[in-house]
C-alpha cells in the first residue's frame, strides 16, 4: 500500500450505479409527491380502509405506478446501502457475497411487491 493505489477491478462503486441512484432518486421524489397529493388532498382522510385501498387500485394507472415506484425505491435503497457498506472497504470475497445478497433481496422484494399489487387488483 506504499504507493496508495488499488486498481484491482471489481464490482464496486461505478458510474452506472451512481447515475441510476441519482435518476431513481429524482423519480421517487416525483412519484412520492403524486402519491401524497392523492392520498392526503384528493382522498379525504387518507387510504386507511381495506375497501378504499382496493378501490384505489382499480384505476388502471395506479398498479403500474406502484410497481415502478417499488422497483425504484428498492433499487435506490439497496444501491445506497451498498455505497455505505463499500465505504467500509469490504474484501473481494465479502463484496462478492454482498453483491449477490443484495441482488437476491432486491429481486425478492420486487417480486413479492408486484405479486401483492396484483392480488389487491384481483380483489376488486
Amino acid at each position: 500500500m506504499h504507493d496508495g493505489f488499488d486498481v484491482k477491478s471489481r464490482m464496486g462503486e461505478s458510474a452506472g450505479a451512481w447515475f441510476f441512484k441519482v435518476a431513481s432518486g429524482g423519480l421517487i421524489i416525483l412519484v412520492l409527491f403524486i402519491h401524497l397529493v392523492i392520498n392526503h388532498l384528493i382522498v379525504e382522510g387518507g387510504l386507511l380502509k381495506y375497501a378504499d385501498v382496493v378501490k384505489y387500485y382499480q384505476t388502471w394507472i395506479v398498479p403500474f405506478m406502484e410497481v415502478f415506484f417499488l422497483i425504484f425505491v428498492v433499487s435506490h435503497s439497496l444501491i445506497g446501502l451498498r455505497s455505505v457498506l463499500l465505504d467500509l472497504h469490504p474484501s473481494n470475497q465479502v463484496l462478492r457475497w454482498l453483491n449477490r445478497g443484495l441482488v437476491v433481496i432486491g429481486c425478492a422484494a420486487i417480486i413479492y411487491g408486484t405479486w401483492l399489487v396484483f392480488v389487491i387488483v384481483g380483489r376488486g
Binding site: G12, E13, S14, A15, A17, D87, H89
Partner: protein, 237 residues
C-alpha cells in the same frame, strides 16, 4: 508593544508507534503570530524532540497542515487570535487519515504518488478555469497551480475516514485540473475508489486553504466521466 496572550498548547505526541499522549506547553505569545510560530517556539525553546512539518511559512508549500482545535488548518496562516483567546488553549493534532511519522508529522507519500498518477499540473497557464469562472487571459504567462498538496481535504473527508483506498478529493481535483481523461487516469478516477465515492459532504472545499474548491472539481470530473462514457458507448462497434 502588543499585549502578549497566555496560551496553553495541547500537543499530540507519539514516537515510534508507542502509545500517544498530549503534552501541555504554556506560552506567552503575541496573538498576531501564527499557530505554526507557536509550535516552532516550543521546539526552539522548550522541547527539541517535537517533530512537525513545515517549510515555506506562507501557504505555498502545504507542509504544515494540522488539526487545530479539531479543524484542519494550514498552521502557517492561522493566527493565534483566530483560534483561541487570552488564557485559552489550542489543541494541536496531526492530520487524520494519514500514517503518523512522529508527533505532528504525517506521511503524505500516497497523496503525492496519486497526484503524480493523475497528472496534476504543478505549473499552468494563468488563464485557468476554477469554480468562480475563468480568470482573464494573460498571453503565454504561467503560474503555479492552486493545489499545494497539503492533504487537508483528505483529512477532513468522511469517506477517507474508513478506507485508505479512496483516492481522495485533492487527487480527483488534480485529475479534473489535468483536463484530459487518458485511459490510465480514467481507470483511476472512474474506479470504485474514484469519483463515485464522494458523498457530497463538502468538507474538502470547506477546509481547502488554497482556492482549489475540490468538491466542485469532483462534480465537474463526474460530468466529464459520464460524458466520456456516453460517447465511448456510442462510438464503440
Amino acid at each position: 508593544m502588543v499585549d502578549l496572550w497566555h496560551v496553553t498548547f495541547e500537543v499530540f505526541r507519539q514516537k515510534d508507534n508507542q502509545k500517544s499522549h498530549f503534552n501541555f506547553f504554556e506560552l506567552d505569545i503575541n496573538p498576531d503570530e501564527y499557530v505554526l510560530d507557536g509550535i516552532e517556539r516550543i521546539w526552539a525553546f522548550t522541547d527539541r524532540t517535537l517533530v512537525f512539518s513545515h517549510a515555506c511559512h506562507h501557504s505555498t508549500c502545504g507542509a504544515c497542515g494540522m488539526l487545530v482545535n479539531g479543524v484542519e488548518k494550514l498552521t502557517c496562516i492561522t493566527s493565534i487570535r483566530d483560534v483561541t483567546r487570552d488564557g485559552g488553549k489550542i489543541r494541536i493534532e496531526p492530520l487524520r487519515n494519514f500514517p503518523i511519522i512522529s508527533d505532528l508529522s504525517v506521511d503524505m507519500s500516497s497523496l503525492y504518488s496519486r497526484m503524480e498518477a493523475v497528472g496534476h499540473q504543478p505549473i499552468l497557464p494563468i488563464q485557468e478555469e476554477d469554480s468562480k469562472g475563468k480568470v482573464k487571459s494573460e498571453g503565454d504567462l504561467l503560474r503555479l497551480a492552486d493545489c499545494i498538496e497539503c492533504g487537508l481535504c483528505i483529512s477532513a473527508c468522511p469517506i477517507a475516514l474508513t478506507t485508505s483506498n479512496y483516492i481522495g478529493p485533492a487527487v480527483l481535483a488534480g485529475a479534473q485540473q489535468h483536463g484530459e481523461l487518458t485511459p490510465c487516469i480514467l481507470e483511476l478516477v472512474n474506479s470504485e475508489n474514484g469519483a463515485w465515492r464522494c458523498h457530497s459532504a463538502y468538507e474538502c472545499t470547506e477546509v481547502c486553504p488554497s482556492n482549489v474548491d475540490p468538491a466542485w472539481r469532483i462534480m465537474e470530473l463526474r460530468r466529464k466521466i459520464i460524458a466520456n462514457r456516453f460517447s465511448s458507448f456510442f462510438t464503440r462497434k
